[in-house]
Each structure stands twice: as structure tokens, then as C-alpha cells.
């Protein structure tokens, strides 16, 4: 580190820190969906990455459509909504056909959803081709902001960050303020009791799962602005995302945010000084080490099991 002056170091930290924030946004967007599904329902969805890919492909096709009709400047919000809806619908169907039969067997859910992810990846590959694609971004999303001479912050990163904040707030509102959220939390805490007071717990499960998938779809839409999409894009992030959720403490949304932030920042700041792979190894080792000492994660839920 000796070769850098203090200002240079500060700029490096600022820029790598911001690169970390992009990673943080993607990880958090994926982890939010997963935290709902895993934290609230205890279901391991290994195909979660593929739901993100669904969102990414939806955005890509919306952009193709927008380009041919000259609506590049305005299509993106619609793409986000479409990504959410399509991933939501697919998630709903998956719950209906697969997940609901396996609630009693979490380890088997893991294997079945892994199978599902293989099938989805192959379907993507057969339908959209193995080539990586990226959508045409509207002009306002390109370029960068320069607060000082040496710091360069890309606008798409800012956009993704904004989207993440809005969505996180939305999830919080849903879970803690809305009536349906009360149902979800009640079902998590005591399924039998929730059923006894008239909550349709099966319906709550279905909606919760579909919602988690829908959020993964939005994560996919956000992902397209910073990287290109291929059939296996989602599976690259799945283990990281699971680590984020477990590290944060499965049932705690605050924990998910904190752990996504620390994992993403640790990785991208280290990446500048040592190789990317070693940064990843060290980050994961650190997380695994902490989990070994504190298996309930950073922010443990207060539910006793």
C-alpha cells in the first residue's frame, strides 16, 4: 500500500467502496427475496438465481421491443414491473406444483429446487441461446458523476442503489405495516395458531414464495444495468446470496442488509489490493468462520425452535 498517497488511497476506497455498493445492491436485492422465502418460510430455493435470470431476460426483451418502437428513454420502469410480474407468476406456479409438497422436508426441497434450476438454465440456453446479452440502456443511465477529480461514480450504480433502497423499504412496509405482512409473520411464528385465527396459511405460503421470486426478478432487471446476462448468470450468485442470508441471521431483514453490505464491501475493497479470487476466498472464509462461532448469524431472530 506504500506506493499510494493518502488522497489516492481515499479515492481508491471511495471508488472501490462504490463498486462494492453496486455488488451490495445486487446481493441485497437477491438476498431480500431469499430472506423472505428462507427466513420466513424455511424453504431453500436453489433456483432463486434463475428467477433473477428470468427478470434479466425480461428486461432484455423489453429493451429490444423499446428500441424497435423508439421508447428507449422510458421503458425501464415498465421493464422492472414486467420482470417482477413474470417472476412472480412463475414463482407462484412453482410453489403450486413443487414446493408445497415438500414443506415437511427442507433438505429435499433443496435438491428439488436444484433440479429445477438445472431445467430452467437449460431452457434459457435453448430458448435464448448461450450467448450473454445486455439490454440497450436509456441515455440517462449512462455516464458517471464526478464529485472530485479522482472519484468517478457511474450513474447506473446509483440507479441500482436507489432501486434497492426503494425495494427494501417496500419489503419492510409489506412485512411490518401491511395486513398481509402481519399474516406472513404470524404464519412464520406459529403456523397452527395463525391457521386457528383464520389466516389461510397455505395461501400465505404461496404469496410469500411468489413475492420472493418476484423480488428476484427485480434484482434481475437491476442486474442488467451493470452486467450482461447469460443462462447461468443466476447460479453464479446463489451461494453468495445464501451466505448473505445465513450470515445476517435468517429471519432478520436488518441482518440481511448488514451482511450484504459487509460482504460486498469487504470483497470489493480487498479486490483492489489482492487478486479477485483471493478476496472472495478471504471474504467467504471470514463469513464461514463467524458462522462457526455464531451459527445463528449476526442478528439472531428471537423465535425459539
Amino acid at each position: 500500500m506504500g506506493d499510494f498517497t493518502t488522497t489516492e488511497l481515499m479515492s481508491i476506497f471511495a471508488m472501490q467502496g462504490f463498486a462494492g455498493i453496486s455488488l451490495f445492491s445486487v446481493l441485497l436485492l437477491m438476498a431480500l427475496g431469499l430472506a423472505i422465502i428462507f427466513g420466513q418460510m424455511g424453504v431453500i430455493n436453489m433456483a432463486h438465481g434463475e428467477f433473477m435470470t428470468i427478470g434479466a431476460y425480461t428486461t432484455f426483451f423489453m429493451s429490444e421491443f423499446a428500441v424497435s418502437y423508439g421508447m428507449v428513454d422510458i421503458y425501464f420502469p415498465f421493464a422492472i414491473i414486467a420482470s417482477f410480474l413474470i417472476a412472480f407468476i412463475v414463482g407462484y406456479l412453482v410453489e403450486l406444483g413443487l414446493i408445497r409438497h415438500l414443506y415437511q422436508r427442507p433438505l429435499d426441497t433443496l435438491l428439488a429446487t436444484w433440479g429445477l434450476s438445472l431445467i430452467m438454465q437449460q431452457l434459457f440456453r435453448s430458448t435464448f441461446g448461450a450467448r450473454e446479452v445486455s439490454p440497450t440502456l436509456p441515455d440517462w443511465m449512462l455516464g458517471s458523476v464526478q464529485p472530485t477529480e479522482t472519484i468517478d461514480i457511474p450513474i447506473n450504480g446509483l440507479f441500482v442503489l436507489g432501486l434497492t433502497i426503494v425495494l427494501t423499504a417496500g419489503v419492510f412496509y409489506f412485512l411490518f405495516k401491511s395486513k398481509r405482512g402481519v399474516h406472513v409473520r404470524a404464519t412464520t411464528q406459529n403456523r397452527l395458531m395463525a391457521g386457528a385465527v383464520g389466516i389461510n396459511t397455505k395461501r400465505v405460503d404461496r404469496i410469500t414464495f411468489a413475492l420472493g421470486c418476484g423480488i428476484a426478478g427485480v434484482a434481475g432487471a437491476a442486474f442488467t444495468t451493470i452486467a450482461s446476462t447469460g443462462p447461468t448468470t443466476g447460479s453464479l450468485y446463489i451461494v453468495d446470496t445464501f451466505m448473505v442470508v445465513v450470515f445476517g441471521g435468517a429471519a432478520s431483514l436488518f441482518g440481511t442488509i448488514a451482511s450484504a453490505f459487509s460482504i460486498a464491501e469487504a470483497q470489493s475493497i480487498m479486490e483492489f489490493f489482492i487478486s479477485g479470487s483471493m478476496a472472495k476466498v478471504l471474504t467467504l472464509l471470514f463469513v464461514v468462520g463467524i458462522l462457526m462461532m455464531r451459527p445463528e448469524g449476526l442478528f439472531a431472530s428471537k423465535i425459539r425452535k
Partner: protein, 406 residues
């Protein structure tokens, strides 16, 4: 003799199963397959080691590890390091800028052999390391996790992350590990050319004998008290704990055993295939190995071998003829096995056998009527409810586990 029959072979049924498997692997395959195909079968059988380990630790112990590739890889890499050092003697590597070190190190500008490679010059050390290194890893992971009562899906996710860490590490540290290509171009074992046909035959038989040995160790474990304890732990962990058993130690033991078995498989893989690479270490191979055990039947040691063989035959066949179809089929296989046949092929076989037994029982009655043959019908034992029962039986726990252990 009784010990061999009841414990190592698992009774009459188990002995028959092992015998059929042994005949198939030792006689039928070598007679009817050419050396190329036989070598492939040998490769599949190395996965069976992992699958057998998974039956013990997942089927019986209820511990799903998604990081078995880690142990398979450690065993395989240990073997590969020895073979690579033997293949890179100063004579055959004299064109390198530093002769006497493996070629990939030379390409990565290393000028001396790293310290952790040194001991692998010794075959004896290597053979011990193949078992011991993965066992130590498994022991550390197991103690850290099970002492803190991490189980179920958390354990699965964390083992998966550890497998990912090792893969990224191997790929990233090219100079020390050979990177993404792995350790290739392995030629001889103590001067014995492992690429010749005769060597392939011999290695195949060594492999099968080791596999049968591993199965018998597994049988020994599950037919004993430990096996019953494992089942009890899987079904009602707290009850076993309250009975005074140290649950974590049993879990650590079975996890280490499964790891050691996987490592033997990895070493045999390197010997038979002639290289080792990170693509056999990471998440995808680890999960595939779980599916081998699931297809064969997670409660059947012998089923696991058939599972590994059948899935891999399928994989080879379809990847040659219809690669697109294969991933779809593999995915469908995961889902169908889990949804419809949780006990895999072995479960199907048991059902079939039950049906046969019932049929023969019916026939027995019929023939009894005709007075042609008499059948020895075992009536189910009916125990009448006892009044003033002194001891309460605990459901789901072996009957010899009672409060006096507490």
C-alpha cells in the same frame, strides 16, 4: 464367522446384495466391457465411494453435506501431487527454467517447490495424507458445526460455501495447484505406467475391492448400535441427547467417516483417470454426488453404487448423443426422485420384494388348502397390552436406550 455374516455383510439379505454386486463388478463388467468402457465404469465407481459415504451421513445421520466434492478433491489432489512430482523429475523437465518442479509451477514463474508439496515426494506419506488430511478437515468442520448444533439446511449451505472456497482457491492459486486445468499429465506410480491397459485393469480391480471394503465398513456401522443411534438422532435428536448421549460426537464421527470414504474415491479417481481438476471439487459435482445417493436410495449402501453407475451411464450416454436433453433429464431426475421416490431404487426394490412376499404368502395359503406343500409362515408377533407397565417405551429410539444412560 457370525461377526462377518451379521455385521460386515448385514445378514443374509445384505450378503446376497453384496455378492450380486461383487459378481457384477468383478466378473461381468471385466468380461463384457472393453478397457475403455471398463475404465469409465471405474471412474463412476470412484463416485460411488462418495455416495456410500453420503448414505451413512445423510441417509442414516440426517446430515446433508453439499461439500463432499471437497473431500473427494482433497484425496484426489493428494494422489495427484505425488504422481505429478514423480512425473516431473529433473530429467524429463530439463527444458524448464527450473527443472525438477511440476510444469505448471514453472509456467507461473515459481523457482522452487512450495513447502507443502515437499512431503508428497513420499508415497507412504501420500497414502496417509489421502485419508488423514480430508479427515482432519471434516473433523474441524464437524466439531465447529455440530458442537454448536448447526444442522439441517444451515449445515448444507455452509458445506457448500466451503466447497466453493476450495474451488476458488485452487483456481486462483495457479502456481501452487495447477489452476483451472488441474494437475494433468500424470504418468507413473513408482515407475509403474498407470496409463497402460494392464495397469487400468489392475487399478479397476483395486478400486472394486476397496469399494466393497468401504461398503462393508458401512454395513458394520449401520448394523451396530451406532447405526441405530444415528437413526434415532436423525428422527428425534433431542430425545437421544436427553438420554445422555453426546450427539455431536456421533455426528462428527459419521461425517469424518464419510469424508475419508470420499477421499479414497478421489485418490482412485486420479489414478484411473490420470488427472485431477477443480471441476470435481466444487458445488456442482458435490450436489451431483448427492443425487447418486438419492437415486440409489439414501438408506441403501449398495443402492448408492447402482445409483452412481446408472446416473453416470445416463450422463455419458446423453452427453454424447443429446447434450441438451441431459441437463433437462438431470433436473427432472432430481425432482422426481425427491417427490416420488424418496428412497430411490432400493426403495422400489423393497416394495417389489414386499409384494412378492405377500404373493407367496397368498400362494402358501392356497397350496395349504390343497395339502401339497406346507409353508413356514411367520405370524406377526402380537403383544397384548400389559397392565401396570413398569417401563415406558420410547417411540423411535432403540429399545436398549433407556434412562440408565443418563
Amino acid at each position: 464367522m457370525e461377526f462377518v455374516k451379521e455385521r460386515l455383510l448385514g445378514g443374509k439379505e445384505g450378503a446376497r446384495g453384496i455378492l450380486i454386486l461383487a459378481v457384477l463388478l468383478l466378473i461381468v463388467f471385466p468380461l463384457f466391457l472393453d478397457i475403455f468402457r471398463l475404465n469409465l465404469v471405474g471412474k463412476y465407481l470412484t463416485y460411488a465411494f462418495v455416495a456410500v459415504g453420503l448414505v451413512l451421513c445423510w441417509g442414516y445421520g440426517g446430515i446433508l453435506s453439499l461439500g463432499q466434492g471437497l473431500f473427494f478433491g482433497l484425496g484426489g489432489y493428494a494422489m495427484a501431487m505425488f504422481l505429478k512430482l514423480e512425473a516431473s523429475d529433473p530429467e524429463s523437465t530439463k527444458i524448464q527454467s527450473t527443472p525438477g518442479i511440476p510444469d505448471f509451477m514453472d509456467w507461473n514463474q515459481l523457482t522452487a517447490l512450495p513447502w507443502f508439496w515437499e512431503p508428497f515426494n513420499n508415497l507412504f506419506f501420500t497414502l496417509i495424507a489421502i485419508i488423514v488430511v480430508p479427515s482432519i478437515f471434516a473433523f474441524i468442520i464437524g466439531v465447529a458445526m455440530f458442537r454448536r448444533r448447526v444442522s439441517g439446511v444451515y449445515f448444507a449451505i455452509i458445506t457448500q460455501a466451503i466447497a466453493l472456497i476450495l474451488t476458488v482457491l485452487i483456481v486462483g492459486q495457479q502456481g501452487y495447484t495447477g489452476g483451472i486445468n488441474g494437475i494433468t499429465d500424470l504418468r507413473t506410480l513408482l515407475g509403474w505406467d498407470i496409463r497402460s491397459d494392464s495397469a487400468k485393469y489392475i487399478l479397476y480391480f483395486v478400486n472394486v475391492v476397496l469399494l466393497l471394503g468401504v461398503i462393508m465398513i458401512g454395513k458394520f456401522v449401520i448394523t451396530g448400535k451406532l447405526g441405530r443411534l444415528l437413526l434415532a438422532m436423525r428422527d428425534k435428536e433431542d430425545r437421544v441427547r436427553f438420554s445422555g448421549y453426546d450427539v455431536a460426537s456421533f455426528k462428527v464421527f459419521i461425517f469424518v467417516l464419510a469424508a475419508a470414504m470420499s477421499a479414497i474415491g478421489g485418490a482412485m479417481f486420479t489414478l484411473q483417470v490420470g488427472f485431477m481438476s477443480p471441476s470435481f471439487v466444487g458445488i456442482v459435482p458435490s450436489i451431483e454426488m448427492v443425487i447418486f445417493a438419492a437415486v440409489g436410495g439414501r438408506m441403501s449402501l449398495i443402492g448408492a453404487v447402482y445409483g452412481a453407475l446408472i446416473v453416470n451411464f445416463g450422463k455419458t450416454y446423453f452427453s454424447e448423443s443429446a447434450p441438451v436433453l441431459w441437463l433437462l433429464l438431470m433436473g427432472a431426475l432430481f425432482i422426481t426422485v425427491v417427490m416420488a421416490f424418496p428412497n430411490g431404487l432400493a426403495g422400489l426394490w423393497d416394495k417389489y420384494k414386499d409384494k412378492l412376499n405377500r404373493d407367496s404368502l397368498k400362494n402358501g395359503f392356497r397350496s395349504l388348502g390343497k395339502r401339497e406343500k406346507t409353508f413356514d409362515i411367520k405370524w406377526p408377533k402380537i403383544t397384548l397390552p400389559k397392565f401396570r407397565k413398569k417401563e415406558t417405551e420410547v417411540k423411535g429410539v432403540p429399545s436398549n436406550i433407556r434412562g440408565d444412560h443418563a
